[in-house]
Symmetry: D2
Subunit: 358 residues, 4 copies
């Protein structure tokens, strides 16, 4: 027995109470074999995710059938499960979750010329017309999934599939840095908040040989930032060190969303400095010296997400600087362990990036 | 007896205790007649201004001899008298004060081809090499003064000398609006703080047929803003009205420098809004929702002063829209009444613009 | 007998050789009455347009059923008929042509809250996911058509339906002027090429009180530009007048696509000038003084099309300046006369804008 | 016998016909010893440069006395000798030439706190108020010269004095790249014209790991560009190779000023590409496909010179990437050989940068 998932997927077997699928297998599924997937449902106003068995998808015209290697849990996945997505997103429940993925092409659909089975690929999520892969429609947390070839990019030769699953946050930073006019070796850069976005900002500034200061309450994250190229790491509770940083940065990246960090980011800006607000949170009042904007001629602006054009730039930048993003991964789980994985990902103070795998 | 003023002026007769000059005359002074002037001195670390008699200046090569009509008191004049000027300004005490002026050419020096006696002119203050007319060197608050023709502009036919003395703050707003990409009839504009800069912002937005809301605690100033083109005027103490304005402005101009107004300016910004911080003050912490920058994709930036290129644009804009800036003037005094005038100008809550005349 | 049109429309009766439909009626068609439409087909590699009878469309969820008043013929319509559309557009033949339209809501589909029958509306063409109304999918040249409410805007009270059909080119200019930082009363503006885009540029600069020079070989168009606010109109064959214009414009709009006009547009630019290339054509070499870019610090850039966000700005600008765009219309035809209309529209030297009506 | 040089220098002994000074000595001159210098004079409308003996300069308040190591010959030096400087420059003849210099502090004047004898320094040329060191006033081509400490910067520890004399063109490129939004490892960069500016552009793009193509008719310069980081070097006469480059560059730098290279630079631009015109020349018509600007959404812009703010950025970038600019130097001469040096520098096809030394 099966019920239809919007977008064409069909749940074959509901999971047991533990979210595990008895018939799950590591072998490549045959055309008639069902596949395991992390499915989001909305029932009686309650959104939840669970491990389900769905029909094996078939790639349509222009589509690729992908066996994912890794799928990251994004902040927006957690927003969706908390039913906090902006109303502009029309979500087709139930659907397979996941849009930060890497994988291998298993099969190509009709009219696909530029990919072939065996290609290692990633993909951006913008399906056009406000349809988003893994957010409003079926995504990547399935043993096999179909996706438009038009949103996919082949990986450079030396790039691993684990690192590749982190390209999305790196591309978000590519776009953000582009918006503020670039970073180079002459710049002092402060990064407030060392989650996946903040760590990608540390890396992206450090590879240009900019001088980077990384700020986060977590000792472990600060150590990680230093290993990724930061020259200095500071605990925001260290008032003296924070005072010494004031007015020191040509480019500031606020990646935590925490109001006190937002206020500290303004203090960080040097004369003519540019302050990027990337951290997402419900706006809350915090004491801030807005007069610094006039006094130091600061520009405060924001950037959210990665447009499709930022993805090839991100890949090329990672390839040419031989950057490995895997240190950003804090934990991996199997699809079947999705409930535990999602709970862990929500512990943002502890996890930088939680990835799932089949 | 006389003592030399830096820049060539010479004080002939100190003024009496009331700041008035006994020999003052309205007749055009002969080449040997001394002239009355507002002179700033720094003695034993104390900066003060007073009415003095100085030697009649002679226009050097490329210079014009000007009889001023009106000279505005600028916030920076008050900063200088409070000895609060940034250290980057090297001030040559004693010097004649005043850089927001209009007047008539009395005589031209050698090598002047593009002006003649009788021309009605204004001038910007940038003398080059961080020398500023009326700020670091002799300025316009004298019955006659010499100034480089290179910084002067002839007035359009229909523009009065009183209105012309207000071009400087208008040019500051021209530059600020240019920096944020212009204002047009499709925009909603909020102006916080209705001093000279704020009122110029109201006018400049209103002439483009943008929809303007003017915000200030003073009833009188709000009425003035309405008469100058604002569609709505709001008291910031009116919480309900302020809440209704939130997220309503494509362009926000913060012209008060007051921290609560700075926080309110951020609340004003609509999605993709641009928020200009023009008000000058010592930065002080104020509760502000900085998270709005990310949530609404706001850009906060600043603009201070009018580069020389903004002056011809300001004149042309005023001419083509037939704008009269005189309603911005709140009080006028004679040079001899300079002490009272400066005291009144410091009462920013009450005065929009205090002007002096010979 | 009928054949299906991509998007759900169905041709009921092929038109006769004259392209006219015998059963055409002015009465509101009943749910079962077929409607006349301009349909583009591609048969054996040949693209052509003709008047056909199609099934009356039914508005789906979120859609409006519209009775169009006017539908403009756009340059891109002619490109499509010449089979010259860029390959990035996947066109679903056969389809109803037309995307520059105004009309009245006849009926609303399910889940439509913000429109009702009787509303006067226009709509932008971006359906999302590279689907374009009237270009890749069914459009507006039908006695009745269905369109997503999400792309529609209600007209301001005083705006006529004829003027409203011209909002699209006006919105293209809104976006272009935004990209170069705005136009105001201080600017000198040169417009090269006085088709619909060029005339919209003349209007948009003139309403800001910028000083506008209009340049076109056609005497009639130059007269039209003068009546729409240009201060001067010049024939590009008048070498002396063109020489006098050189280096005179702060903002230059090249709207013809003609290579000699492109070279003249560069000559037009004053110091720090911004030169906008809006005219579309196959790039051809023309002698041009590219060294002027360095010598005068020019910026040359382009803008094509109107993003959805430019449409409300255009409407608001037109409303607040009470602009009537109808003088731009050069000829109108009925849908049944589409072949003649399309031929006339292709005569770009003569026609500024050809409109169709039911 | 001596005649006064504008700015305070005094020629003690005119040079002989060969431009050499009989009494020239390598020993540090005593306070009363005259010094050899390259002096520009304008006599009867003819501008010329020669080696002269001038009075030893004395550092005034805020000034440093410098013994130069190297002084570059800039294109603007040649412009001045050809009497082709823009009229906006008011040149005080006679004056010592030279503004691209490195050297050592010999002595500091009164009120100098931030430099001391022995410091290795360079300096930008903007003296304020349109006064330019070595262009309108006395410059660096003298065995000893005085210069405002405010325009000087101390060299990083590892930077040689020969490399340091090349910072000026490098800073020009820093500013230009900033204006077009930065270059990074994701970019393809084409550089047309491999003089000092072009080679600095090659270096600056290559250190970011951008992919750089260098284009110049000179085999020797192309080889030099390859050694400095270009991945490919192309002769513009190689039509096939040039065709292969078309539409390939995200950032294009035109640094030759040659009209055919300007046209080729437009062809280089990829979709959304930015084309920088840095080469200076009298604008001359060249066949160019300006329609590419619209078709590929190119932005063409320019940048000339290095504002003072670009100099610390240039130094820091060179230090952090450990860049050695000395390969750009093509020839060095002594001050006494100035006539030969200036002739050689004018042979731009052969020389990339000619430097003088005491």
């Amino acid at each position: 027995m099966s019920d239809t998932i919007n977008g064409g997927s069909t749940v074959v077997t509901p999971a047991g109470p533990d979210g595990r699928l008895g018939t799950c297998t590591a072998d490549p599924p045959s055309p008639t074999t069902p596949v395991g997937a992390v499915v989001v449902t909305k029932v009686a106003g309650t959104v939840s995710a669970g491990y389900r068995v769905i029909e094996r998808p078939t790639p349509g015209p222009g589509q690729l059938l992908i066996r994912p290697a890794y799928v990251g849990i994004c902040g927006s996945d957690l927003e969706q499960l908390a039913d906090h997505m902006p109303e502009t997103f029309v979500i087709n429940y139930p659907h397979v979750l996941g849009h930060e993925w890497s994988g291998e092409v298993v099969e190509v659909g009709p009219q696909v010329d530029d990919f072939e089975a065996g290609d290692r690929v990633i993909g951006h999520g913008d399906l056009g017309g406000n349809r988003w892969f893994g957010v409003t429609h079926d995504g990547a947390m399935a043993e096999l999934f179909a996706v438009d070839g038009a949103v996919c990019l082949r990986l450079p030769a030396g790039m691993g599939l684990l690192s590749a699953a982190l390209v999305e946050p790196f591309a978000c930073v590519v776009e953000a840095i582009r918006k503020v006019g670039g970073v180079n070796a002459a710049h002092q850069v402060h990064v407030h908040g060392l989650g996946a976005i903040g760590l990608c900002a540390v890396i992206q500034a450090a590879i240009t040989k900019a001088s980077v200061v990384a700020i986060d309450p977590s000792h472990k994250r600060r150590e990680l930032a230093l290993s990724l190229g930061a020259e200095l790491a500071v605990d925001p509770a260290d008032t003296e060190a924070m005072t010494a940083l004031a007015a020191g940065a040509d480019v500031v990246v606020e990646a935590s969303g925490a109001p006190p960090a937002q206020a500290a980011a303004v203090e960080s800006g040097a004369a003519d400095g540019r302050v990027l607000f990337m951290g997402v949170s419900v706006p809350r009042a915090v004491p801030a010296r807005l007069g610094l904007i006039q006094q130091r001629n600061l520009t405060l602006t924001s950037s959210t997400g990665a447009p499709s054009g930022a993805w090839p730039s991100a890949l090329r930048m990672l390839e040419r600087h031989r950057v490995d993003l895997t240190p950003i991964v804090s934990t991996t789980f199997s699809f079947a362990e999705c409930k535990e994985a999602l709970a862990r990902a929500a512990d943002r103070g502890r996890e930088t990036k939680v990835l799932l795998h089949p």
